[in-house]
Symmetry: C3
Subunit: 173 residues, 3 copies
C-alpha cells in the first residue's frame, strides 16, 4: 500500500505547504529544501493546525508530556506535508537519516525523548521499520511563536528531481 | 560581479580567520572545516568585532530584536571570512544547504526567526536567490563568551581542493 | 597501533551498545545509525556509567566546568562504544566530520566550549590530528534523565558494510 493511502486510512490529511507557510507568522526567511545527490536537507518544522500553533507553550509548565507527544506527532504530519510538496510522492523517501527534536522546556524538565517519540511513532506506523531515524532530543529555550516542538529532518530519497525550493517569506502578510 | 566585489561595494570587509581565532577566548578545540565530496561541514560561528564579542547578551533581556538581527548579520560576515579562508573564492559556494541559528534567549523570548533573518538577508543581498538556505532558529541557554548568536552552516561547493583545516586552539594565548 | 589498543593502554574500556541501551531509561525511540555513501549519521549520545547517568545536572549550578569536561569525555567513550558496534573496528573512521555538543546549562553559564573539549581531547589523544572535528557548543535547557551533556556526531568512514541499525526501544524494560 502507498504511504499516502495508509495516512488516509488512518484519517490523517496532510496539510499543503503553502497553507502552512501562510499560517506561519514568524517572519522567517528560508527555503523548504535543498537536495544534493540523494540527501535531502529540509528546513525545520513546527506544528501548525487550523492556521495557528498547535499546543504551544513550555513542556513541564504549560503542557504535559502527553500534550507534547501530540504536538510532536502533529509536527511530523506537517513535515510529511512539506515532503509531499518536495517529492510529490512520499514513497520516494528511502531513509530518515537524522532527526533532531527541540523541545521548548521549562526549568527542570527532562522528558524530551518521550515528547519526540510522538514524531517517531507516526513514522513507524506509516513507514514500518524504515521509518526509524537516528536522532537526538534537546531541551531548548524558546521557539518561534512559542511553539512547543521543532523538528529538523534530513532524508535519503531516490535522488531524482525535486520541486523548486519554496521560499517561506513570499507568504508573509 | 564577483561576490567579494559586491561585499566591497557594500562597504563590508571580511575578517581574517586567524584574527577571529585570536580574538576568540573560548578555549574551544576544533578545526574550521571538513569536506566530503562537494559537501562542506563548517564549525559554528559567533560574531566577533574589533577583537571581542559583538552585541553579546540575551535576546529579550539585554538585546532587542533589532540588535540581535545586527549580531546575526555580523555573524554571517565572520562566516564569510571563514569560508574565504577555506575556499579562497566565495564564488565557489554553490548552495547554502542548511543553517541552524541558535539565539541566546531570555525566558519567554520567541522571536528567534527575526534575529536569524539578519544572517539570511545578508546572504540574499550578496548571492541573490541561491543565498537562501534551509534552516531552523532555536532558542538556547548560554553560548561561549555570552555571545547572542551562533550559526552552524553546511554548504555545497564545487568539490575541488580546500585549504588545510585550521585548528582554533593553536591561537590560544 | 590500532585505535582499540591505544584505548586499552590508556585503561579505557569501551561499553557495549546493548548495555548502554539497557541502562538508558529515557524511553526514546531511534536507531543507532544510518549510512549513506561514506557518511555515517549517528544518534545522539549521553554519558552512562555503571548503568546510570554519569555526572548529571546543570553546568554552573550542580557541576563545575571540570566535572562537565569529565562528563563530555565519558560521553565520547560511550560514543566510541557505539561506533565499535556500527563499524566493528574503530580504525575504519576516516574523519570526524561534525560534532554538536549540547551542554545542560544554568542561567548565565557561558563556558560550554570548555566542557565539550573533554570529548575532543579524547579523540585527539586516540586518533591524533584526524580526531579533531568541526563543531559547535550550545547551552541547552534540559536533556533526557537530567544528563549534563549530549553529543551528536557525524562521521566519514570507509563506506563499506556496517552492522544492522540497532533500535534502542527494544531494550526498554
Amino acid at each position: 500500500m502507498k504511504i499516502e493511502e495508509k495516512l488516509t486510512k488512518m484519517g490523517i490529511e496532510l496539510p499543503n505547504l503553502e497553507d502552512l507557510y501562510r499560517a506561519n507568522k514568524s517572519g522567517a526567511k528560508y527555503v523548504s529544501h535543498h537536495a544534493i545527490g540523494s540527501v535531502l536537507y529540509l528546513s525545520g518544522c513546527t506544528p501548525t493546525k487550523d492556521g495557528k500553533p498547535f499546543l504551544p507553550g513550555l513542556l513541564g509548565k504549560d503542557l504535559s508530556v502527553e500534550e507534547g507527544y501530540a504536538a510532536a506527532r502533529h509536527t511530523m504530519i506537517c513535515y510529511l506535508g512539506m515532503i509531499k510538496y518536495v517529492l510529490g510522492d512520499l514513497d520516494r523517501v528511502k531513509t530518515f537519516l537524522h532527526m533532531v527534536g527541540y523541545v521548548n522546556s521549562s526549568e527542570g524538565f527532562s522528558e524530551q525523548p518521550r515528547v519526540v517519540n510522538g514524531a517517531v511513532d507516526l513514522l513507524v506506523e506509516v513507514y514500518g521499520n524504515r521509518g526509524m531515524p537516528t536522532r537526538a532530543a534537546i531541551g531548548c529555550r524558546g521557539l518561534a511563536s512559542n511553539h512547543s516542538v521543532e523538528l529538523i529532518l534530513t532524508l535519503e530519497f531516490d535522488g531524482k528531481k525535486t520541486s523548486e525550493p519554496l521560499a517561506r517569506d513570499k507568504f508573509n502578510n
